[in-house]
Amino acid sequence: MSGYLESVLVLLAINTVLAYAAFLPMVAGQLNLGVAAFVAIGAYSGGYLSQTYGLHPVLAALAAVVVAGIMGWLVAFPILRTRGIYLALATFALNQVVQGTILNLNVVGGASGYPVPAHIGFPVVATFAVLVVVAVVALFHTRFGISVTAVSDDERVADLMGLSVRGLQTAAFTAGAALAGLGGALYAHHFNYIEAQNYGVLFSIYVVLYVLLGGTQTVYGPLLGAAVFTLLPELLRGSASWRYVIFACLIIAIMSLRPQGVLLRKAWFSK
């Protein structure tokens, strides 16, 4: 496999993981603009653990999942007190706080970036991505899938049907944060260098766009969205400096044709 193809596939794998990180809160009705904060937490905590304590990079990535998940769980309590646009703003603010904090943390290089020598190769990154897709698809074939959609459709009725609205919202937010942490740690250990400047709100918006393009109605939407956003710019490489203009026009065209996302659903499970 050529180096170019491999690097594209690595990005596809990581972007897929990140798309599901944004998807989980979004199906629960939360527009999380702080995905990049958890990606950064995963990247830096994973990198720090393998760098400072010599932890095996795969174990460091798994530890990063736990760290990002715990952080997500902790901030879920204040953040999930808000709704709709206010929740989006709260997560936006969280993103700024986390990014600003890391920029001032000299122990991980501050503004000059952080080298992560331990390496995770393509096969392991790809395996993690496949596992994430399988796990989320399986999750949406359990009662959790219909319950979390019910919560985003009508909190009051979901509650009266016996569902723990707050519990499901917290679970979705926390699981999303944990997946973002995984994506961050995989990125850090594959590319071996991370910079806090990259994990701004624009990064979060990009990931949210993957999901919106693919559609939140089916569990396969994020996979499609991540693929389009990763592969389309590469396919347009021939048109050199105009490729992002063409790419943006194509995205706008797709979005106007399918405002609900490309993949629509009949059911989480049909027959």
Partner: protein, 252 residues
């Protein structure tokens, strides 16, 4: 008494919407809660199901005071309801909508992560499919609930409430907006439900429907109980006539 409210009171701002309301329902009974628009009937349902916490008084279900019990635990105690303005989940299919209520019978983390979507013969999915078939709704099972006709959505809501296996079922205007044929079908369905021993409490404006279905009536006006009697006696009660039609003096 399977369900009892005792001196229930509730105010919104300075307005008393339910005032010292008490009534009881015996097991297997069918009670109607009637009154003019704005009398507080839906508020009473919201107090019983825990959507609102009352300012005073108590809700007692099968001998247990559930006034302080969080709303989501009440359906697990056998108390289910339907809604005046239909509230199905628009982004779920009809089958998934009714399956939501099954959770109340087997709640918990384990049940939440139980697969219900894989395999041909999942027990919960088959049960829900059967319940829809019983109601003549099987052809809608895999459609999204959002775009279906009003009458169909009302029937789906009833199936959903029943899949929680309630012992007490609160119905908020079940016949509103239905044509005569649909109303008749609803009557048959509720008779069958009542025959299984489910206690019914019905808020309804269609008095003919109430007269056929229910045995007893509680009449509310401005949050106060103005009458409680057998269905047959309701037209003779002067306070009820006054609440609905105004006083004779004014008419004269």
């Amino acid at each position: 008494m399977v369900l009892e409210v005792r001196e229930l009171s509730m105010s919104f701002g300075g307005l008393k919407v339910v005032d010292q309301l008490s009534f009881g329902v015996a097991r297997g009974e069918r009670l109607a809660l009637i009154g003019p628009n704005g009398a507080g009937k839906t508020t009473v349902f919201n107090l019983i199901t825990g959507v609102y916490a009352p300012d005073g008084g108590a809700v007692v279900l099968e001998g247990n005071d559930i006034t302080a019990l969080p709303s989501r635990f009440r359906i697990r105690r056998g108390l289910a309801r339907t809604f005046q303005n239909i509230r199905l989940m628009a982004h779920l299919t009809v089958l998934e909508n009714v399956m939501i209520a099954q959770y109340a019978r087997a709640p918990g983390i384990g049940a939440l992560f139980q697969p219900v979507g894989f395999g041909r013969s999942n027990r919960w999915r088959e049960e829900a499919r059967g319940a829809l078939a019983n109601a003549g709704l099987e052809s809608y099972a895999s459609q999204m609930a959002g775009g279906l006709p009003y009458g169909i959505q009302k029937r789906i809501e009833l199936v959903r409430a029943l899949l929680a296996a309630p012992r007490v079922l609160l119905l908020d205007e079940p016949a509103a907006g239905l044509n005569p044929a649909e109303t008749e079908a609803l009557h048959q369905a509720l008779e069958a439900i009542a025959a299984r021993g489910v206690t019914l409490v019905v808020v309804e404006h269609d008095m003919q429907f109430v007269g056929r279905l229910c045995q007893r009536v509680v009449v509310l006006n401005f949050g106060v109980k103005i009458a409680e009697c057998a269905v047959a006696e309701i037209h003779r009660d002067p306070r009820v006539r006054e609440a609905y039609l105004g006083t004779d003096e004014l008419a004269a």
